[in-house]
């Protein structure tokens, strides 16, 4: 273990590797900033340029792009409500409100700090326990994934804003939109109306760019641009009290993100949604969520970074992709003449440990890069919003186009933008719609696979202890406070004062503890 770490440091600390690590995280940050252009595309585009490099150097740089993008994606989410990465959608909810309240600097800083802490914690776990975690993750078959999707959907309660009915309606709309495209299993095209572009479904990255970025622009145009925010530089620096509030959310987010990231295929987007949902449930300040709560930035940002790192566990320990970006990286292994698989740790110790150690170095670079830059980036909001409109529109459309080189993506962005405007006018929450659209196809896949395994009998879910545990957690997440209120009334105490919000602080506290 110590020998391996030393070997890793020896390998990663060469000038060449340090230099390319820096290039990678810098490029990753820029790629994360661009809406639509995510880490998967970024890594795929830059892959050919690394062919002449030493495999370790190349992988260090490509991995740097991956986790660098997790940092970069936050910046535009917070400043202009334009999620740069799918995993940053949730951050827009409270991050953008913080920016409107003049706390953009704090939001960006806590995102960087949370991401860093999450990275270090998850790396420590990765280094110590990658193989056993990878074996554990294999227990997540279709029934367990189905339960996990139910847990994801249960977070709708947290994303609904004032009205649960509106939240549920939007989530259902998202699920319905998620049924468009070729059905898994049968291969039939649904609701495509002969359009080839719709065969792969309604792409959620484009929808999310339209809803959040364009919807906000149209909303601002309609109500008259808001005054630019003229915060003094020192007001943009994060306060000690904000840091203290964020400790627990960062730790919870890291734990949840790590556990979800280990599971092959679930990735960092789901982790960020669930972390936000859980955080809102357990936070003593749940009323502030949606209005600029720093916890609402700290938890999902920690979770998406922890998940990004944990994604490497199945990738390195078993040779199976943890998510979309690690799938591209697995392809890169073959191109460099390395055989990914369970023997990688034994056959290529210098490569594996050098890569893992480079994560430490890269995340440290990102922290050093992002902390001072946070107030600087926040200064961007001094620009009158009117001048930002065209920039947001162009980057949104170019970003959408770059996803699949297809003009169809731009139409989706525009349509979603119009929908986002209408939803804002009628105060309909947007996050549940995105959640439904993201989870819908995953939910359906798990459902179809579970049904295939059980020969049409879905009760096989209850035969799996893991699935049952996850379902119980989902139940607690959705109905925890109500149940707790019931228990307290039964036990004779005069509970219930302060309504459903009152006792919730303590109620589902066992939830994250049980999960972590």
């Amino acid at each position: 273990m110590i020998d391996n770490l030393l070997l890793g440091f020896e390998a990663a600390l060469s000038w060449q590797n340090l230099g390319w690590c820096f290039v990678g995280v810098l490029l990753g940050t820029v790629i994360g900033l661009m809406p639509g252009l995510g880490s998967t595309t970024g890594v795929a585009i830059l892959l050919p340029l690394t062919l002449a490099m030493d495999p370790l150097t190349a992988l260090i740089m490509l991995a740097g792009i991956y986790y660098g993008a997790q940092y970069g994606g936050t910046i535009t989410s917070v400043l202009i409500s334009t999620p740069g990465e799918a995993a940053s959608v949730v951050t827009t909810i409270d991050g953008y409100q913080m920016a409107r309240n003049g706390r953009a600097g704090a939001a960006l800083a806590i995102a960087a700090i949370g991401s860093f802490v999450a990275a270090i914690l998850s790396l420590a776990l990765l280094i110590a326990l990658a193989p056993p975690f990878a074996r554990w993750a294999l227990n997540f078959g279709p029934p367990e994934n189905l339960a996990l999707m139910v847990l994801g959907l249960a977070t709708i309660v947290s994303f609904s804003g004032g009205s649960l009915a509106r939240g549920l309606a939007m989530a259902c709309l998202g699920l319905l939109l998620g049924t468009v495209g070729v059905a898994i299993g049968t291969g039939e095209a649904r609701y495509t109306f002969g359009s080839v572009d719709l065969l792969s479904g309604i792409p959620f990255v484009e929808v999310m760019i339209g809803l959040f970025a364009l919807g906000e622009v149209l909303h601002q145009v309609r109500q008259g641009a808001e005054a630019p925010i003229r915060a003094r530089f020192r007001d943009l620096v994060i306060k000690g009290s904000e840091l203290r509030r964020s400790v627990a959310p960062v730790l919870r987010g890291s734990g949840l993100g790590f556990l979800l990231g280990v599971l092959p295929g679930s990735g960092s987007t789901l982790a960020s949604f669930i972390a936000y949902g859980v955080e809102k449930r357990v936070s003593p300040r749940k009323a502030e969520f949606g209005k600029g709560a720093i916890e609402g930035v700290a938890a999902p940002e920690s979770a998406n970074n922890a998940a990004a790192n944990a994604n490497f566990i199945p990738t390195l320990a078993l040779g199976i992709p943890g998510g979309a970006t690690t799938a591209v990286l697995l392809g890169a292994f073959t191109i460099y003449g390395l055989q990914p698989g369970p023997l990688l740790f034994e056959e290529q110790p210098r490569l594996v440990w050098g890569l893992l150690v480079s994560f430490f170095i890269g995340n440290l670079m990102l922290l050093v890069l992002n902390l001072p830059l946070a107030p600087a980036f926040a200064q961007m909001l001094r620009i009158p919003y009117g001048y930002l409109y065209p920039i947001i529109l162009i980057t949104s459309c170019v970003g959408a186009f770059s996803i699949s080189n297809n003009v169809f993506s731009i139409w989706i962005v525009l349509a979603a933008g119009a929908a986002g405007f209408v939803m804002k006018q009628y105060d309909l929450p947007m996050a549940p719609l995105v959640l439904g659209l993201v989870l819908g196809p995953l939910f359906e896949k798990a459902l179809v696979q579970t049904s295939a395994i059980g020969n049409g009998d879905l009760t096989v879910v209850f035969a799996s202890p893991i699935a049952v545990t996850v379902l119980v957690l989902a139940g607690l997440l959705a109905f925890g406070p109500q149940l707790w209120g019931l228990v307290r009334r039964r036990s004779g105490r005069s509970g219930g004062q302060g309504g459903p919000g009152g006792p919730s602080a303590g109620a589902p506290a066992p939830t994250p503890a049980g999960v972590a």
Binding site: V217, P390, L393
Partner: protein, 325 residues
Amino acid sequence: MKTSTRIAAALSAAALGVGLTACAADQGGTSADGSFAPSGDASMIVPFSAGGGSDASGRAIAAGLEAATGTNVVVENREGGSGAVGYSYLLSQEGDDQTLLAAETSLSSIPLSQDVDFTATSFTPVAKIGEDATLLVVPASSPFQTCSDVTTAAGAGSVVVAVSGAVSLDEVVFRLIETETGVTFDRVPYESGGEVLTGLLGGQVQVASLNPGEVVGQLESGDLRALCAVAEERYTDYPELADIPTATEQGIDVAFTQWRGFIGAGGMSPEARTYWADAAEAWTQTPEYEEYISSNYMQPVTAYGEELDAYLAEYDAQLATAIGR
């Protein structure tokens, strides 16, 4: 404030207009009389997402063509609809001499199973650069020792197999085995080879059909075992795979090969077709090509021009009988 809002709105609209026009602009291929030479960049469409086998082969071919011609060959991933989106895009480039597409079995299997506007003959085949087959693999702890064990068990009860798509190569393989032996498999649908591998390692499915390049790491580590190769011959060129018997040796007379190569748009000029085929042939003489083939455990079987047309016609017919509806 009113005016500034209006100006901003106008600016936004203008910006959007510029963006759309810029995006809609397309590079045009030109062909001179007599001989063809590309003008500007050529593009290589990959109809699947980055990271998969098709992406790897598309990028390798593009790099090879670049080296052979000195022209930039830009790789574009146009994924979706199990490949249908990319092929449909190529269909819209009718007559273009510089838009290529990294093709394989899906060229025939998509039109056979999905409602699309193209058939296998809508395009101009340029080169086949290699062949790939599949192995039937099981977890190390599986009771199955041979492929006939699998079919016997399927005949007596049920065997759960993984398929990575409604018309994927593994679906074709299982369909062929079913037709040959008269048994039926229970299928669990997945969406990629990586997911299938995960399901197999986790014990959620009993048998999967995967390309050797996708599983060789898990075979070497002993986590998975290969029962048979669904190929005409054993992998004698690859020592780590040479001991795997063919399905035919085990009494199941099924062999199915996937081809990899690239095609051009329909109506591509004969000069351009020859130009790209010559470039591909030049690439197949290089060490880079050998490296590509061996690191993916493929067979260096190539075909160009009329030979390729004949190969594809026969291939299409074979697929149609196997999975046609």
